[in-house]
């Protein structure tokens, strides 16, 4: 809270105001970059720490001789990417999408479908031109990203014409449509999904090696994190945040808000597509469960658990969710019995999420 008091002159003066760029203001200019000449904020330390730990973790695990955890952490990072992408529209854009799993699933199915065709040496499609399947991530993953983004563009274009609960329902409905389409693909396992014979290769790298795959996931996570960080601070991000807080005012100022929100929706879809491509590789198994609306719900839970509208929060949320799941399900088969009420308590009492709580404490 800002403490203010009114002086006798009628001027309102701020006490304990955050270090305002007072000296530069006198020259009619304002210097605004946060942080320079100032102690690093906690959020920056935590970010550095998080990525340093993730970078060093495999070494630590090798010492402890616990390679099982390596797989789990890879999984956490992948879900982290999906949650970060969802947070872009949910946390920064204020768009309540209950269909994000659709884009996650499309990414995974691109990997699954190409892998199966590659294995059998069959063509992906014969008409209008013949397209042979590839097994190289450098081809398959961008296609996964592109197709997810395209689907998001289509779904967003229709859904964003509505707002509030109607938007929520439309995104859910479209995600269900895509879910049922994949369920009906009998040649790709239908309801049961399909197993992959092996992971993709990446420019000669063998992703079947868990350590290599771990670092590929780490690289993707870092890339997505940095991209979102730039995007949020750039002009586009300002518009996106403005739309969340007061869309009507944005329009009055002259922003055609629909286009910006749609772009954000498509970008979030692209991010989820990458996560999907990774999860298909990680599990070497792809099924319609990845697109189920409960998956959308779980991604939402991760975002909120970590911290809605924060950069690092969704990643922490993904780790918290999956680690709690892992621990609880090791104790009891009925772990949902405890996780459900836990979730309710988090919503009712822990506003801001884990990471959100930490960085909020720092601010006056």
């Amino acid at each position: 809270m800002q403490v203010t008091k009114t002086t006798t002159l009628g001027e309102t003066v701020a006490l304990n105001e955050p270090l305002a760029p007072a000296s530069s203001q006198q020259h009619g200019k304002v210097q605004v970059s946060h942080g320079t000449g100032r102690r690093w904020p906690l959020s920056r330390w935590l970010t550095l720490l998080t990525f340093a730990v993730l970078l060093a973790l495999p070494v630590l695990l090798a010492v402890l001789d616990n390679s099982f955890l390596l797989t789990l952490v890879s999984r956490c990072m992948i879900y982290g990417i999906a949650a970060i992408s969802l947070n872009l529209i949910l946390g920064y854009g204020g768009m309540l999408s209950l269909g994000h799993a659709a884009f996650f699933g499309i990414g995974a199915y691109v990997v699954g479908i190409t892998a199966q065709n590659f294995m059998y040496g069959t063509a992906l499609m014969e008409w209008p031109f013949e397209l042979a399947a590839s097994n190289d991530a450098i081809v398959v993953w961008p296609v996964a990203i592109l197709l997810s983004a395209l689907a998001a563009l289509l779904i967003g274009a229709i859904s964003l014409r509505t707002s509030g609960v109607y938007f929520l329902m439309l995104t859910l409905a479209f995600a269900q449509m895509i879910y049922f389409i994949f369920v009906s693909l009998d040649q790709y396992g239908g309801d049961d999904g399909m197993n992959l014979m092996s992971r993709n290769t990446l420019l000669g790298l063998d992703l079947d090696n868990d350590l290599t795959f771990y670092y590929v996931c780490f690289g993707c996570l870092l890339l997505i994190y940095l991209l979102v960080q730039r995007l949020i601070a750039a002009r586009f991000g300002m518009v996106l945040r403005g739309c969340k807080q007061n869309e009507q005012r944005m329009q009055a100022m002259g922003f055609p808000t629909y286009r910006y929100r749609l772009m954000a929706f498509a970008l979030a879809g692209a991010g989820a597509g990458l996560a999907g491509a990774l999860i298909g590789n990680q599990m070497e198994y792809v099924s319609p469960n990845l697109l189920h609306w409960k998956m959308s719900g779980e991604l939402m839970v991760m975002v909120l658990l970590g911290g809605l509208g924060t950069l690092l929060g969704p990643l922490w949320g993904a780790f918290a969710f999956l680690l709690v799941e892992d621990v609880l399900s090791g104790i009891t088969e009925h772990w949902m019995l405890f996780f459900g009420p836990f979730l309710i308590l988090v919503v009712l009492f822990a506003k801001g999420g884990i990471y959100g709580y930490l960085i909020r404490k720092e601010q006056p």
Partner: protein, 254 residues
């Protein structure tokens, strides 16, 4: 497109807005000359805010025509009117509470500078945004609060920020909807000073309940009653008009 030989900045003729049975705006004419500060007054429920919304483009009129510097803008959506230089401020403060004061204004500046599909350069260190935004804050005397969260401002400061955001759009004309609502006398005094400074640089249509402010600031006034302009004239003319006394001022005095 736009003819410049018209003396009017804004020229609205025969505007009508109906909500079901209710006629909110009833064949209203209102013309604001270039550089003029024109006040719109009237008793509560006279339809002042509805008329402002029609002029700004938030709602479309059922009948009538609106010209802005000679060009027909009757069917033009709000963001295009804003780009042409016709910008409104809000009666209920409509700022971005979770952003800093300077960010609020910078966003308004950003709206002017082409599309915002720019994903890489941080907006916070972009001088093309920050410098004009800071100048706007200086004009409304809010520069010392630039890095405060907008939600933490005092009420009067929020109204100043609101004006700064409106100014950032480099408007040729301002539609100001009750800029002094809920202000302390001190704050109102500052706002009158501010409007005095803006007068002449911009054409202004001012809706305001503070009669002292209105009469001291405006070149001409229009009195709106039941969605219909009763009379338009200078402050002296309005003060002495019998119809106005009956319909409006007398009512308040009683």
């Amino acid at each position: 497109m736009s003819t410049t030989d018209t003396p009017w900045a804004l020229e609205a003729r025969g505007l009508v807005k109906r909500y079901g049975q209710l006629v909110a705006t009833d064949h209203a004419d209102i013309c604001v000359a270039k550089g003029e500060l024109h006040a719109l007054i009237g008793p509560n429920g006279a339809g002042k805010t509805t008329l402002i919304k029609q002029l700004s483009g938030e709602i479309f009129s059922d009948q009538g025509q609106i010209r802005f510097h000679g060009a027909d803008i009757t069917r033009m959506p709000i963001h295009q009117r804003a780009h042409r230089g016709l910008v409104r401020s809000y009666q209920i403060t409509s700022i971005f509470e979770e952003m800093s004061v300077i960010d609020n204004v910078a966003l308004a500046v950003q709206a002017l500078q082409g599309h915002s599909f720019r994903f890489w350069r941080p907006a916070a260190s972009d001088a093309r945004l920050r410098e004009p935004a800071f100048r706007c804050l200086e004009r409304v005397r809010l520069a010392h609060r630039a890095s405060v969260l907008a939600g933490n401002l005092a009420h009067g400061e929020k109204r100043q920020l609101e004006i700064a955001m409106t100014l950032a759009a480099e408007p040729s004309m301002l539609l100001l909807d009750e800029p002094m609502a809920g202000m302390s006398p001190e704050e109102s005094g500052q706002m009158v000073e501010l409007l005095q400074a803006l007068k002449g640089e911009h054409s202004i249509l001012l809706v305001e309940h503070d009669m002292d402010a209105v009469f001291s600031l405006s070149d001409r006034l229009t009195v709106l009653v039941y969605g219909k302009p009763l009379v338009t004239g200078t402050a002296a003319e309005i003060r002495n008009d019998q119809r106005v006394r009956e319909a409006y001022l007398g009512e308040e005095a009683a």
